[in-house]
Structures are given as C-alpha cells and as structure tokens.
Amino acid sequence: MKTLLKLISFLSLALTLLPSLLVMKEIISPELSKNIMLIGTITWFVSASFWMNKSEKEEAEG
C-alpha cells in the first residue's frame, strides 16, 4: 500500500513539473499546464501525507 502511495506521489510530482516542459516546447497551452499542475499539487499533498512523515509510534521507536 505504501509503495502504491509513493508511486502516486511521485507521479503527481511529475504532473507538477512536466507540463511546463510541454509549454516550453509549445505542445500544450499555459492554461492547460496550470490545471494539470493543480491536479498534481492536490494529489501530492493527499498521497504524500500518508507516507512521508513518520508516525508517532515510529518516532518513539527512533
């Protein structure tokens, strides 16, 4: 489950960055790029919050 969440997180990070390269190459419009970035942003914060920080139990165990 954690691996899947990590995969989703890194894909969403890619969604934040890659559209700008397509804008530079004039393949997609800046407006579309901004919308994709927003989707990537929301997905990153939702998915990363499940795995990125250690739980209290993990922290206690060091």
């Binding site: 700008s20 804008v23 530079m24 190459k25 800046p30 914060f45 990125m52």
Partner: protein, 474 residues
Amino acid sequence: MNQKQNLKQRLEAVNEYERTPIPKNKLKGWKSFIGTYAGEHTAGTEFVLGPLFVAHGASAGDLVSGLIVGNILAILSWAFFTGKVAVKTRTTLYYQLEKIAGNKFTIIYNLVNAALFCFLAGSMIAVSATAVGIPFNIQMPSLTDVYPNSVGWVITVFCIGTITTLVAMFGFNVISKFANIAALWMIMVFIAAAIGVLPRLGITSFSEFWPVAESTIWNGVPLEGQSKFTFWHIMFFSWFCNMGMHIGMADMSILRYAKKWTYGFSVSGGVFLGHFIAWMASGILYSLFLLESNGSLVFAPGPIAYEAAGITGAVCVVIAGWTTANPTLYRAGLAIQSINPKWKTWKVTLFVGLVTTIAACFPALVMQLLEFVALYGLILMPLGAVIFLDVFVLPKLGLASNYAELTNSRFNPAVGITWAIALVFCLGLNIYGGIEIFFLGLPGWFVAVLVYLAASKAIQKKVANTSTVSPLNY
C-alpha cells in the same frame, strides 16, 4: 483526562539534549540531514532574493559564477566549521555559548537573535500576504515603499500574522510535518513556473536559454534607485547569507546529531536547490514581469507566481512564506523565553507574533531583505568565531576552553569585547570605508579571531589550564 495525561507524558518524554551531549545511540545518518537541509533552504525567502538580484542588475555570467563559487564556500564552511565543532562538542550553540560566555551574555545574545527572527518571520508573512491578497485585488507594495500603502494590505498582513502566530502557539509539530511534505513540491513549482514562462521570453529550447539570459533576464542593468551588483556581491552574498547558521554556528543544533563532521556536506542539496535553482527560477519570473509591465516598481511575489503557475503558484508562495515564518516565530519565542523560563510559552509567542506582524506591515522589510539577511549573519558571526577558537585553538595555546563554566562566571568579558569590537569594526568599514554590508563578514571574522585570542590571553592569566570537559570519542 487520559488524553491530557497522554499528552503530558509525551511532552515529558521529549528529550532534545539541550544541556547534555547527544548520546551515541541517538546519532543520525546522511539521509536525515539531506532531507532537513533540502526543506530548509527552499523557502519563502527564495521568492524575494532571486528577484532582488535582477533588480540590482546582476549579469547572467556574474550570477551563475557567483552563485556556484559562493555556494561551494558556504558548503565548506558548514562542513569545516559547524560540522567539526558540532561533532566535537555535540551540544547546541546556546549551551556551548553559555559555557564559554556565561548565562548573562547568552540572554543578550538570545534577545538579539529573537529580534532578528521576528524581522525575518515578518518579511515572510509579507511575502505570503502578496499571494493571499490576489483574490481581493489588494494594492501591492512597490520596491521603494517603506510604509504600508493601503488598509487592505495591513488587514491581509494581520490575518496571516494571526494565523501564523496561533499555529506557532498550538500546532508547531503539524506545521513541521507539513513543511516536510511541501519542500519537494515547492522546488518543483519553482522550476515549473520558470520553465513555463520561457516561451514568453522567446525561449523554446534549452539551447536558446543562455543568449536570452544574458540579454534580457539578467542584463546587468539595475532598476532605478538600486545599486549595481557584481560577481563579488553575489559570491559573498551566497556564501554569507546563511552566515549565522554556518560560521555563526547556529546549525550546531542540527549537526550535533551527525555521526561524522563530513555530514555537513549534506547541505549541498539544499543550497544548490534553494540558493541556485530557486533563485534563478524566481529571477526569471521577475524579469518577465518587468518586461511585460514596462519596468514597474511594484514588487509582489504572489501575483508573479500566480501569473506563471496559476493557483499552484500562488499557493506555493503562501506555503513557502508560512513554513518559513512559523518555525522562525517559534524560535523567536523560545529565545525570549530563555530570559525568564517561568513565562508561559504561549504568551511569549503571542507577544513576538504581534511584534512580527506589525513589522510585516512595512514593505521596506521585504524590499531590503538582501541587506537584512547579510546583517543577520554579520551580527552572529563573531560568536561563531569565538566558539570555533574556544573549541579548537585555545587549548593548543595553553588557554582554557569553556571559561565561564570553569570559573563559575555569569559573564566572560572576552566574549563581550570580541562581539563589540568586531561589530564596531564592521560598522566603521561600512560608514567610513564605504564598504558594502555583503563584504564585511570576512574582515570582521579575522578581527573577531584576533580580539578573542588577545582578550582571552589577557583575562585568563590567573586561571590554571584545566578543562571541565571530558573529550567525546564518537
């Protein structure tokens, strides 16, 4: 009731080893430091510092070469100064300074630190306000504004200041975890926003970047009323912008957990992401704004990022400002509380939050951020020199380390004299020599070294060369 007891137990279980060396089994590996530094050095300040290089007319060649050399020097300072001292003592800057200078001196130091933290947090609240003000069409400050220019601006700043203060009072851990998540995403947004606007500058492939960078983005012409920046300004600024943390030794608190002093090099990722890529990215955005607004002096990172990356860009400015302002406010509260530990933490944080928010209303704080950051490092630098000498050099000269602890004194005059003379010397160079603030750190450090050695030699004449410290072997 159970929840209350549980919270109390958890709080009591927290041991940050404020007054003891870090035990060997609590040391951390490379990964912890890489993550911490990457998050810390991609912050709200980057949205301001990158554009200020453009405003000061840095040329593309000077900017890139200055940032590379300056950042490498900063990394070396982190490893060879802070890393070595932190691993040798395994204590915080505050405790080490107390042992050397006495607790009366550390109160003064903490007060100065708290004031500097308040101003830094204030500038970050102002940066966030530029993004929050977008939907309300708030009038943004300009590069030359000193005082608040609209009621809407003041209200926006107070709203953000209130939220930031409340979070610092109640939920710092949550923000810290949130900042960890945001760090990687923020750097992606910085890069994406800059790449996304390149076609508007006439760049559609990476090979076209450099000629446009030289002629348009960093064209070497300062804006009206701004001084001209050279390679040396950029190199010294990127070396010394975190002077308080490396040469000033504040990052002893982090690196004392390192297994080896070489972990200081792990700041490389953070510095080159934050102080290289992010500064260049925010510079590109600002340069485009200047081009499209015919050289407008309005300076607002929020609308600029919104224009480039939409809602994501504006949210990034808010989060970058907030995640920097929050821990800074928290640290300011702790520094003030050290004067009287009986004061309630929440009351102290509320007080510093109010001071910070009032400061944030004044746009001059953000517009002068380059100078302020340089001043911040400069003020703390002499004490870093004192700690370095005290740990590594004084014993070799037959003098005692940790003089205040050894003599049970509350104030070691050698430290006070060093701080005062080094700062007066720097001030003199600035006022009478016309030397800019960015260049004062280096001569100031050598003066601090000479004065501390001379003052220690004079003051310690009658003290036997004994140390209360048992050497650590890990």
